[in-house]
Amino acid sequence: MSDLVSQFFVQFFNGIIIAMAIYLISSGLSLVFGVLGVLNFAHGSFYMFGAFLVFTFTRHLLKTVPGHFWLAILIVPVLVALLGLVVEMGLLRFIYKADPLYQLLLTYGLVLMFTDIVKLLWGAQNLSVRRPPGFEGSVTVLGQLFPSYNVWVLLPCSILTMIGLYVFMNHTGYGRIVRAATHDREMVGALGINVRRLYTIVFVIGSWLGGLGGVIAAPMGAIYPGMDFDVIIDAFIVVVIGGLGSMAGTVLGALIFGLLRSFGILFVPQFETLFIFLLMAVVLIVRPQGLLGRRVSSGH
């Protein structure tokens, strides 16, 4: 009996870990959608760039520098944020007035380009990023072994990010503006805020988050040029379930995603991915704004 209970908690904890990983990735997507109204397909590419750049930094550039992984965590997301800046100022901003679906298509075009660029720069084979020294082993939690990296790096970073975003959006001046913008874009403009600059800043923050997600997630598995496609669909599911534009919703969506995946693998290993899409469909049908999102009007 207690075996079953501990099994349950183990899966629960595992689910939390998966949830935290996907939260880190999805937070940027949700933020950008909430403020700009753009569902950025290329967010997965920022994630991918983060992962590949940390590979280059740890394997080549900073190889001999002690603590190179931690340095990479500081540097790489900034580089990815710079890429985001270029994308926003060079392309995205010209298409804000267009149909949102055209914006989505534009970001999809970028995804296609970025995937091949990564292939050209890093090759098409799987690469791996080594875990930083001190976190290469395992840790026992509830009688089960978990990679110590997941427990001691991923979890704290995600939680820190969550707290950081919360503090930013609720207790800083600019953060409150951002939060207001997720509720009513036009009103914020009418209040005299430079909306263009706001959009750029938010997009850069979003890309930074995406890059950070990539850096943190990189040592957890193999990295490969198609990972942007794979992760963006997962991120879509999370933000749809949680509610597009709602930061709290992203946390909730990530938790549901992680737990479903964890328990799903345990009970119905064949169909767990199917269940996740079914859940996404159900949420969209029953409550299209997501669990914590704002009301969505029907019709075009």
Binding site: F94, G109, M280, V296
Partner: protein, 465 residues
């Protein structure tokens, strides 16, 4: 321009030559393409081309069906490939699992099941709008994909359903008979869609696209019509899926994978979503470029595709076939302001395509002969220099609205085209010059622009430019 053709100049007298003319176009296409295999085989060209055309026809059918939703009804589906899969598996399962199942029935079942599935899925999707609609169609198509993937006992999982029994004539060694079968089915299918699009139903769909609220208040039950459109698109997509299954004699889950949905979306955008033939042109072009690039430069296909997509979205939103006005310009500005905006737009797009052409041609030339990259770079810089000096002057001349300069610009693309043909830039690289030419023509060939240049209004436009 939307699909309405010219109305009679005298009220009350209806012109009847429209659709009859179109019938001849379809018949002509049927006749011309019928003999392609003969030509290919006689000329000794690779059999690949017969297969290429077969696939192009199937994708054209799929793309036109998709565009019924996107271009005509304004519903952008990210999961249309679900019906490819459903149609394909219907035919595959019926023919393989049930011994001696009649071929005709197995074939016809595909569009019917496709339409039925679309009715069920559409019922849910139609309730949503925009992004949420797109997301739900995506979710459903992934559900179809994963169902096929995981239901190993029934569908063979990711090993696929192989060895679907097909009649002998489908399997003939030179693919000719199957080619003809596909040709006939697709021409027929596209013709039916043509009739639908030009019927009152089709017009109603465009009204729904333009203004669903207003459509509701002329008595149209918008949701019902959207569902019907969804079902028609699903049915024809199922038909395309069956054709693919018969072609490959097998079905795999990835027939329904979401990247196939985006492929048909790209085809439609490339060719132009607001015209009927746009998706067909887009399908042929995309498949051609895919074959060309994957053969010569493996590994950059997606880069090229993504770049073309970005190019089209910025420079040629109407696609190759669509000479539409952007929503901005279709406003109630007076003609002078509209002309000024048009000219400004033209200048912006002209530079945009020039830069794109330099980048693409430089990129492709470097790929072709990496060793001479310095020469390529110098050549590109040289072009940039010449263009940078010449074009502003030419564009200023154009702003005077002199007819002569309009003609100069219309003929202009011949220059870069000749240069690139001489340099033997790969065909896909020439695409950009083609898009540039199309863009120029799209802007300068419009009736209002022509009228402005021919002096009817230029007098009062001059001070404003």
């Amino acid at each position: 321009m939307p699909t309405s053709s010219a109305a009679p100049s005298v009220p009350g007298r209806a012109r009847t030559d429209g659709p009859d003319k179109a019938v001849w176009a379809f018949v002509a296409a049927l006749v011309v393409f019928f003999w392609v295999p003969e030509v290919v085989l006689t000329m000794g060209w690779p059999e690949f081309w017969i297969i290429f055309f077969t696939e192009a026809f199937i994708w054209s059918l799929f793309a036109v069906a998709f565009n019924l939703l996107m271009g005509y009804t304004g519903l952008i589906s990210f999961g249309q490939a679900a019906y490819l899969g459903i149609g394909g598996y219907t035919t595959g399962l019926l023919l393989k699992k049930i011994t001696d199942f009649p071929f005709a029935l197995g074939f016809i079942a595909a569009p019917l099941v496709g339409a039925l599935a679309a009715a069920v899925i559409g019922y849910f999707c139609i309730r949503l709008s925009h992004i949420y609609f797109a997301m739900l169609t995506l979710a459903f198509s992934q559900i179809v994909y994963f169902t096929a993937f995981k239901w190993y006992d029934f569908t063979g999982g990711d090993n696929g359903l192989i060895g679907v029994p097909v009649p002998d004539w489908v399997q003939d060694p030179s693919f000719t008979n199957y080619y003809r079968f596909v040709l006939v089915v697709c021409v027929l299918g596209v013709f039916i869609l043509w009739r639908i699009v030009n019927s009152p139903f089709g017009k109603t769909l465009t009204a729904i696209r333009e203004n669903p609220e207003r459509a509701g208040f002329v008595g149209i039950n918008v949701k019902r019509y959207e569902l019907y459109a969804f079902m028609i698109a699903g049915g024809f997509s199922g038909l395309a899926g069956a054709l693919i299954t018969l072609h490959e004699r097998s079905v795999y889950p990835d027939l329904a994978f979401w990247t196939r949905s985006t492929q048909v979306l790209l085809m439609s955008i490339l060719g132009g979503v607001y015209t009927f033939s746009g998706p067909i042109v887009g399908a042929f072009l995309l498949l051609f470029m895919d074959a060309d690039i994957t053969q010569n430069y493996p590994g950059i296909w997606q880069l090229f595709l993504g770049a073309v997509l970005v190019l089209i979205l910025f420079g040629l939103p109407g696609g190759i076939m669509g000479f539409i006005q952007s929503r901005d310009v279709a406003s109630a500005d007076d003609s002078a302001t509209r002309m000024r905006k048009t000219m400004a737009e033209f200048r912006r797009k002209f530079w945009y395509f020039f830069v794109a052409m330099l980048v693409f041609s430089g990129f492709f030339l470097t790929l072709k002969s990496p060793a001479t990259w310095v020469t390529t770079l110098l050549f590109t810089l040289g072009q940039a220099l010449i263009g940078g000096l010449l074009f502003p002057w030419m564009l200023r001349q154009l702003s005077t609205l002199a007819e002569g300069w309009r003609l100069v610009f219309l003929l202009f693309p011949i220059a870069p085209l000749a240069v690139h043909i001489l340099l033997r830039t790969p065909l896909s690289g020439l695409m950009i010059v083609l898009l540039w030419a199309v863009c120029i023509h799209a802007q300068l060939w419009r009736p209002d622009v022509r009228a402005a240049f021919r002096g009817r209004h230029s007098a009062h436009l001059q001070p404003l430019l």
